[in-house]
Symmetry: C2
DNA sequence: CCATAACTAGACTGATCGGTTTATTATAAA
DNA sequence: TTTATAATAAACCGATCAGTCTAGTTATGG
């Protein structure tokens, strides 16, 4: 019997894609083994506590990626550049609307109860990081908060509707609309 | 052994609530019987084809409700009044953000494939009905379409974030923001 | 080259899955 | 009443579930 060797990071990425497609409850161990090519032995080697550990590690992985690619730049770098990067990163990460937000999907059913603090932390940090960048760019606190909330809400809604309608174009249009609104708010204070 | 008698409409409403909480895959027959108080005998009496029929009937039920309460008014009644009613209906139906959109939740995982036309039809009609009302109120076609899309996207996104953050207030704020934007567009043409 | 550890394949287990069947009880027409 | 039908309860079914275990194979460090 021939053997394929996986790295844990590969396993995380592969399993994440299955959760994205089937949801937490919908992803059975057998569907995970079938779709990833990882045997149960491998999966329980990497994730001794099974599905729940898989999901937890995947979410931590996603969160860490967003922190380095988006949140920290928003929090620390030049705000306008970081915001511009955010739109790029968002569009790329979600594959122009073809990829669902796993954390958003987990939030909708009782999966949320298992991972509530991770889910809450992710969205809270996104909104706060964006609001902070807007404020550093000169936008007033309350308007910055409103705009940031609106942006993250819009991204999540667009992902839902892109899937529901089977039409990615709504994602691009929404991102464009939201970006325009932020640009407008930024434009009003010092060019 | 004592017996409780249910109506089918009761069964639909009760099971719908379980799907809303657990998702389609997460809702097992035993969890449905436990939470609704309906026995398997009753459930399979009302829904001979099991879970799939339950979900299909629930979605048809939701769709019919939205058609009479929201879509038809938007399509046929005085547009400004119908739009005002839409915000009321939306806020009431989703219990100020505490209740998830079942159809939106189904859209995110592979449940979508089972019910794609129903899911797509629901959101398409919502957007088109709202866009139509805006046009009849004097808003240009392309702007009406944009605004309608933005509104439905925003509602779905707000529902996701309300659950994710465990904070309903974001739903009310989003609805207020969206209503304001529509009012502004309506205000620009003939008061 | 060997020894040990890291890793993988897949058979296996008890529990639970969606769904069926049988038996019983309520309802309502005759 | 009687009788037919609608509705409910629960035992039961094969399939699949998450998770375990064993027997291996491959990588590595000496």
């Amino acid at each position: 019997m021939t053997r394929t060797v996986f790295e844990k990071s590969d396993a995380i990425a592969l399993v994440a894609e299955v959760f994205r497609e089937l949801g937490y409850e919908g992803a059975s161990m057998s569907s995970i083994t079938a779709r990833t090519g990882l045997s149960k032995g491998s999966l329980y080697h990497f994730f001794p506590d099974g599905k729940e550990e898989m999901a937890a590690e995947i979410m931590a992985n996603i969160d860490a990626w967003f922190v380095t690619q988006m949140f920290r730049p928003l929090e620390e770098d030049e705000p306008r550049a970081a915001i511009a990067l955010m739109w790029e990163t968002t569009n790329t990460y979600f594959r122009s609307g073809r990829r669902v937000c796993l954390i958003g999907a987990f939030a909708l059913d009782e999966t949320r109860d298992r991972f509530s603090s991770a889910i809450q932390g992710y969205f809270k940090r996104w909104i706060e990081a964006l609001a902070g960048a807007l404020m550093r760019a000169g936008v007033g606190a309350s308007e910055a908060r409103e705009l940031a909330e609106e942006a993250v809400v819009g991204i999540q809604g667009a992902l839902t509707l892109a899937r529901a309608l089977g039409d990615d174009s709504i994602f691009g249009r929404t991102l464009g609309r939201l970006r325009e609104r932020l640009m407008e708010a930024l434009g009003r204070r010092g060019l």
